[in-house]
């Protein structure tokens, strides 16, 4: 993509615990600074429709309130975004899933400890995607560095910016 085309792309931030949808080719859905959180991007090419979730936790505890935002949990966000994409006319077979994030932000915390929420988030996201019968087409996960994940609605590309580099997954 040329610099002039990139300049016209409007970045739509996807905040903590949010899921956003767009079919506007001039937009990119962006989860800035994913740490232990996980970004889940799903692209439906025939509808040029995309969704990006910014998941914070794997599962809700038994004390979850009824009015709580369920979309911060992987166990609810992933099925909800798939259901919404299908409701908007996408077909299951066309959905392209890419995920990023799940870093361990505090290096001195042992990987086995409950505090390694990033790895647990990734595990739960993978579980929900498999349960929906989908496959992950690309991922950039775990490690110790934060990431910014962008889903470009023009063509469904997903880029990851991390440690000073930008790559496509």
């Amino acid at each position: 993509m040329t610099a002039s085309v990139q300049a016209r792309v409007a970045q739509v931030p996807v905040g903590l615990g949010e899921v956003k949808y767009s079919s506007d080719p001039r937009e990119a859905l962006v989860a800035f600074g994913l740490g232990s959180c996980v970004g889940v991007a799903i692209w439906a090419p025939t509808k040029t429709l995309g969704a990006l979730a910014h998941v914070i936790l794997p599962t809700a505890g038994p004390n979850m309130r009824r009015d709580e935002n369920r979309l911060k949990y992987a166990e609810f966000a992933v099925p909800a975004m798939i259901e919404e994409l299908l409701r908007r006319g996408a077909t299951p077979a066309e959905l392209v899933v890419r995920i990023a994030g799940g870093a361990q932000m505090l290096r001195d915390v042992a990987a086995s400890e409950v505090f390694n929420i990033g790895a647990r988030n990734i595990q739960q996201v993978r579980h929900e995607i498999a349960r929906a019968g989908l496959k992950i087409a690309g991922e950039h996960v775990l490690g110790y560095q934060g990431r910014t994940m962008s889903l470009f609605l023009r063509d469904g590309r997903v880029t990851i910016h991390s440690a000073g580099k930008t790559i496509e997954i």
């Binding site: 600074g33 505890g61 870093a103 932000m105």
Partner: protein
Amino acid sequence: MVQQELPNTGALARQVVPADSPLGRAFGRAAQAVALALSELAGVEMRAADPRIEVLPLCELASIGGCPGDNVVALFLTYGGSDSGQIMLLYDLDQARMVADQMLWNPPGTTVELDEMVISALSESGNILASHFLTAIAETAGMQLEISTPRPLVDFRGAALSIPAVAVAHRGDTFLSIRIDFHSDSLPLVGTTLLVVPDDGFDSTVIRSLS
């Protein structure tokens, strides 16, 4: 672009505690203590803005003090004792380099790379600043508060703030944010943000005591 419907947290969010309230004044005094210490550490006068004490929606936590995609040096601490909570000190990169120069007795402008020695020095600065802050608060509240060892990271602001976000998300969709921004009048690119998130929000022992 469409956002999936979220619970309405707007009513709870934006509860702002005025700076001239007892709570605002108590944190204002603590902010001045930190500003003095930070000025010494940075070798330049740093001014504290009025503390912003407010309930915010969780989705805004990653952008406290700036864009979540900005690079920062973050120092994460927790406090315990009579009360508990999380503290995040976020240095803009230029601020971090200034503080590192002073801490390592280097001439201004020496530090470029944020290597292990620099990060170690910055961690110590976080210990000093958080101690000044908590001591001021504890003395006003008549309580005992102890801080943990700072845990440093150089990363996106949003990634660093995902650490307190996890604990906040476990408890609900909003959080009590006590945020103090420090700026230099002469160096506009230099700034520091101190964020305090009491575990129990307005029900925290310290907050109730100071209110």
